[in-house]
Amino acid sequence: MSLALDLALCALILGVALATVAGSGLFRAIVFFIVYGLLVAVGWVRLGAIDVALAEAAIGAGLTGVLLLAAHGRLRRLGTARDASHGAHLLSALAGAALAAALAWAWFVLPLPERPGPELAAAMPRAGVENPVTAVLLNFRAWDTLLESIVLLAALIGLWMLTRERDWSGRLGLPQHSRAGGVLASFGRVLPPVGLLIGVWLVWAGADRHGGAFQGGTVLAAVGLVAAMAGLVRPPRIGARLWHVALMIGPAVFVLAGLAGAILAGEFLTLPPPIAKPAILTIEIALTASIAATLAFLVLGPPEEGRAP
């Protein structure tokens, strides 16, 4: 039964993916991609990876989809949305098929390795959190996560570097034309408090059950975006210092905590077991704030106030 379900799900996933890749029309491809993301999230649930499912749904499908849609919108505004014809199909297909076949072959020859299971079991009590995924993310492999948060920041700075010189002092994203009192506006008035709650809960819960800074941050970012679209808040300018602090506070706290660990406990990024939990929480909160701001700004895009000449 479950195999059949899995087969069906995977068939669906593949079908939608095929539609995304090979289907005509850029907009349709993007929509298919969002659907695809949600299906994959379901797949993650089937694989028992709830944290990943949350991340995939929020980030892989949600935020990525929004990014793509927004880009499509801007391209259309520029008059360059026309989808280019496909290139060398046969060779590309051959290349893709060969890669897929290679990976498939690898699956069947993969040995079942010795895993860090025992080490994990031994370490969990000192990790400060109950959720092993969070423990890995924020403690055992905190360095990855720290770098990852920096990657986000780097992407944002990179995105800002794409601003036209004359737009530099403008507000982030496209100029807003939402009508006060419209559906979006009222939706936008309701959603933020709810979203805020969900987001905070995700961060809090991430320590013991599923969720975490990234998932929570994504929700908070979504809240901010909706509020901005509803005209409730105006996107900030690039030069707004406070927001800059918000962008860097998470990684900064993370690094400083790591350094404190190095001084106190001897190794960089060490969280001594007694204070591990509060430390992780502090880091998570700061990180969530930064992630939320960063993600929101990523979606908003660089300022585009001025009209193209």
């Binding site: 993969l110 040995p111 390795p113 920041l153 700075i157 900064a252 790591g258 990024l269 060490t270």
Partner: protein, 489 residues
């Protein structure tokens, strides 16, 4: 507290400060972070030289659960290379990337991106964890792409876009290999991987990772993104991109083939890699000859110079690792990395100064500039000496060591490629030199301060000194080397 941590954390904190602080203070913070990181690098070098490999078990969690970092002689040397280039670039960028020169946007973005790039480089240079390397590489790639896009012109944007595609594809291939490696071995640590029994999928994993990294290293024929990207970026950024960035992915290839999976390295595959390297040397040089812009010439020269690095594989890799000549070949390649970084940074900064002086880097517009900017011309010439592999430069030491080893290994044809490469380098670098030395100048150059001219000169001089005093770095890079043969040839 550990010097290794300092070289990782300081640039990160500097970048964050540069983001958070107002523009002027941000630049000051960035410069302070640069200075501190340089100091930390020296600290690290001393520590490695005195006490051997410097390791950090992050968070106290041993691999396979946690991530281990280790600065062996090689990693520390690469970190030192970054510090030298970054230091020089930071000094040059104070003027070149000032708001009144490049605008507020680029002036804001450059500093955090530079420091992030630095942090990413250092992270990659010391990481012993394949996935952590992936994250580091991504940080590196995004910062690098952003630095290309800072240029803002259409060509620069197209170049950045192209770079992005190659970088993403490379990352995915690398990631695929990492996935296979973990799936087969349950660990990501390089040292542990080497200790585990081989799995059938290892070959594919290594192939995926290597191919991805080759694309990121801009090895022929995957080099096409590099010249327009490096030529399109502002000069200080080009210096970083050309001098340092490809070295990170190359180092990972090296770690994979020499440390993580040395048993996988069959001779045919090693020869294939070297073949690509030879192709890069020749093709890159020929393309460099056909360019009309200084920065394009210098950028194609990077393509050619990176090719030398791959020649080390069949000489010192696989079964060759145990041979007496391996240390020489391997260290020779590392010398090539280091001296190329210094020389290439000097060249791009020189090009930047010329660009600032006459507003163009077309060869025809550079006529006679050796007269008005002799220090810069001299720096360019010194850097050219290194790239040509002429003594007593670091480039020469590199070539000498590698060629000797190639002969000893009976692979004289790679030595031929190296010799030919030196001549081709002379051929493509001659044109800019001759133009600079011409008597007449067409465009009256804007004045450039001596202090600005001194930076590339110091970098180029360092690339020469690397050859003159090559014994200490040679010894240094043997620290922690697997199969380190005590004596070279």
């Amino acid at each position: 507290m550990n010097a290794l941590v300092a070289v990782l954390a300081l640039p990160l904190l500097g970048a964050l400060a540069a983001v958070a602080l107002p523009p002027r203070a941000g630049v000051r913070a960035a410069l302070l972070a640069t200075a501190l990181t340089v100091a930390a690098t020296i600290w690290l070098l001393l520590a490695v030289a005195r006490r051997g490999v410097q390791g950090v078990i992050l968070g106290g969690w041993e691999p396979p659960l946690g991530i281990g970092l280790a600065a062996d002689g090689l990693g520390a040397a690469f970190i030192a290379m970054s510090a030298a280039v970054m230091g020089g670039v930071a000094l040059a960028a104070r003027q070149m990337m000032a708001p009144d020169v490049v605008g507020a946007r680029a002036a804001f973005g450059f500093w955090p991106l530079m420091l992030l790039l630095w942090a990413a480089l250092n992270a990659v240079f010391v990481s012993r964890d394949l996935f952590n390397l992936y994250v580091g590489l991504e940080l590196l790639s995004l910062a690098a792409v952003a630095l290309v896009a800072i240029g803002g012109k259409e060509a620069a944007l197209a170049a950045a876009m192209r770079y992005m595609i190659f970088a993403l594809a490379g990352s995915l291939l690398y990631l695929a290999g990492v996935v296979l490696a973990y799936a087969a071995h349950g660990t990501l640590d390089i040292g542990l991987l080497a200790a585990r029994d081989a799995a059938p999928s290892d070959g594919l994993a290594l192939a995926l990772m290597t191919a991805g990294l080759l694309a990121k290293t801009a090895i022929f024929p995957f080099h096409v993104w590099l010249p327009p990207a490096h030529a399109g970026a502002p000069a200080p950024a080009s210096a970083l991109l050309s001098g340092l960035v490809p070295k990170a992915s190359f180092l990972i290839i090296l770690r994979l083939w020499f440390e993580a999976m040395p048993d996988r390295a069959g001779f045919a595959a090693l020869m294939l890699l070297a073949g690509l390297g030879a192709g890069a040397v020749i093709w890159g040089s020929l393309q460099a000859m056909a360019q009309a812009r200084l920065k394009m010439i210098v950028a194609y020269s990077t393509v050619a110079q990176l090719g030398y690095l791959l020649l080390v594989f069949p000489i010192a890799g696989g079964d060759g690792a145990a041979q007496p000549w391996a240390a020489g070949a391997w260290t020779g390649a590392m010398f090539q990395v280091l001296s190329h970084a210094l020389a290439k940074a000097a060249m791009f900064l020189s090009a930047g100064l010329y660009l600032a002086a006459v507003g163009s880097d077309r060869l025809g517009d550079l006529r006679g500039l050796a007269r008005t900017m002799p220090m810069t011309a001299f720096a360019f010439a010194l850097a050219a000496v290194t790239l040509m592999g002429l003594p007593p430069s670091g480039g020469f030491t590199a070539k000498y060591l590698m060629m000797t080893a190639a002969f000893a290994a009976g692979q004289w044809y790679w030595a031929l490629v190296m010799a030919l490469g030196g001549l081709l380098a002379a051929a493509y670098l001659y044109r800019p030199m001759a133009v600079l030395f011409a008597r007449e100048s067409l465009i009256a150059p804007r004045p450039v301060t001596r202090a600005a001219q001194a930076v590339p000169l110091v970098l180029a001089g360092a690339s020469i000194l690397l050859g003159v005093f090559s014994a200490p770095p040679f010894e240094f890079m043997q620290i922690g080397r697997p199969d380190a043969a005590e004596e070279g040839l």
